[in-house]
């Protein structure tokens, strides 16, 4: 009984969320609705503390909304599952497993040999060939992110939920990981919902940018990003879009 247009992979419909605090009820999300089509890449930007991560947790099934609903392929999202993998800023590569064991972790119902082969294939795809037997504490921050990305990709999820995935990395690595992600998304079809505070990252990766307001958070504006990949970030159209999004966020970028 899907009620939504079936071309929508993710349908967020009137989602609201409040938290009880010592100061009273905190209204975080207020009536958020948007759709993400299959294979689309949508970024969500917003001021800090506006509830971006709360929204992501709800969409990915880790939390339930107070009002409204989230549907994945028309089915109400009640709990997390491997059809959509969450990659968050803190990272969750298991430190007690090797890279290979981490990549094999989510592979249920495969023969052991197949698991190994798949794991090694994705390790290579993210540039971790030769590091399969290493433990996470033996890897650099960037390699750890690659391992996390590979672990998500190996289960072939329809959706990648990315919550500030590369924010802990330095600027150069951050840019490199974005390029890496785009390269992979050109090879493998995934629907991506990306949360970021970095407007440049949003424009670089996404086809659409949703700008959230301050609390109680609603969708303030949505921008299309009509540029083909690879995108030239320094070009005038990209910079104009960036300035427009920043203005929505209350930042004037025309100082230079």
């Amino acid at each position: 009984m899907p009620t939504r247009d079936m071309s929508s992979r993710i349908s967020v419909d009137g989602v609201g969320k409040s938290f009880a605090t010592e100061q009273g009820t905190l209204h975080v999300l207020d009536n958020i609705s948007f759709e993400v089509a299959d294979g689309d890449i949508v970024a969500i930007v917003g001021p800090s503390g506006c509830g971006k991560s709360t929204l992501m947790n709800i969409v990915a099934g880790f939390d339930q909304p107070d009002r409204g609903s989230v549907r994945i392929d028309g089915v109400v999202q009640t709990q997390p599952n491997s059809r959509g993998i969450l990659i968050s800023q803190a990272g969750s590569v298991f430190p007690w497993l090797t890279v290979q064991q981490n990549l094999m972790f989510g592979l249920n119902g495969h023969e052991h040999g197949d698991k190994k082969q798949l794991a090694d294939h994705y390790a290579e795809m993210v540039g971790l060939k030769g590091f399969e037997r290493r433990y996470p504490h033996e890897l650099s921050g960037g390699m750890l992110k690659r391992a996390e990305l590979a672990r998500a990709l190996v289960v072939k999820p329809e959706i990648l939920y990315m919550d500030e995935p590369f924010s802990a990395l330095d600027a150069l690595l951050h840019l490199r990981m974005r390029n890496e992600l785009l390269r992979i998304l050109a090879q493998e079809r995934h629907t991506v919902l990306l949360i970021t505070h970095d407007v440049e990252e949003a424009i670089h990766v996404a086809n659409r940018v949703i700008v959230l307001s301050t609390r109680p958070t609603t969708i303030q504006t949505t921008f299309d990003v009509p540029f083909a990949h690879p995108r030239k970030l320094s070009g005038a159209p990209v910079q104009e879009l960036r300035a427009a999004i920043l203005r929505e966020l209350g930042v004037d970028s025309y100082s230079s």
Partner: protein
Amino acid sequence: MTGLKRVLPSVIVIALIVGAWWAVVVVSGSVVFPTPWQVVTGTLELMRDGTLWQHIGASLFRVGTGFGLAVLVAVPLGLWMGWVKGAYITLNPLFQMLRPISPIAWIPIAILWFGVGNMSPIFLIFISSVFPMVVQTIAGVHTIEKRYLRAAANFGVSRATLFRQVVIPAVLPQIIVGMRIGLGVAWLVVVAAEMIALRSGLGYLIIDSRNAGNRYDLVVAGMVIIGLIGLLLDRLMRLLEGLKVVRWRYAH
């Protein structure tokens, strides 16, 4: 720092204490309290007639058995209590109440239940080491970082996989800490337990040496050996911290 530079200060301190001890015994002219040399000759005497090895063997056997049983009980129990909230709420108050009771207080009951033999000290060792290990294991489960449990939930793995690949390895470093504490307590307790009525073990050696002719050289020898073996056991437990599966915990 080189190895020698590292151990030098503690070697100097021990040498000073031994020197002071020697001087005090000589100056006071005590006939009962031994000089360090008398302790050495006493130890050699015990080594030659073989009784030292028997006493050490008896103590290690009791500790090994009691501590081994405690590990077998404490780890599953701690994992269960840490994971299942109902089990924690139900059993934790009982454990908190039993934990502060000194194992020494159990001696009369141990003798009542198990008589005078190997079972009594084994029971006392079990009682003394099981609680710290249960508590550490529970704490280990409770402090597993949420992000790892969320990742496991995200990949939709079975309960068996969750335990085998996430919960147990995440808690393992804490279990090892618990084992170190447990073994330390066990070694303390075996000596006390053996002082009561047994005919073997390092605790018995100490009490027997005093009772049978004020052989304080052997009393001190027993103490030194207990200290050395305790140190050795702790070193052995620390080797576990170097295992590949737990090194992540100490690497950052």
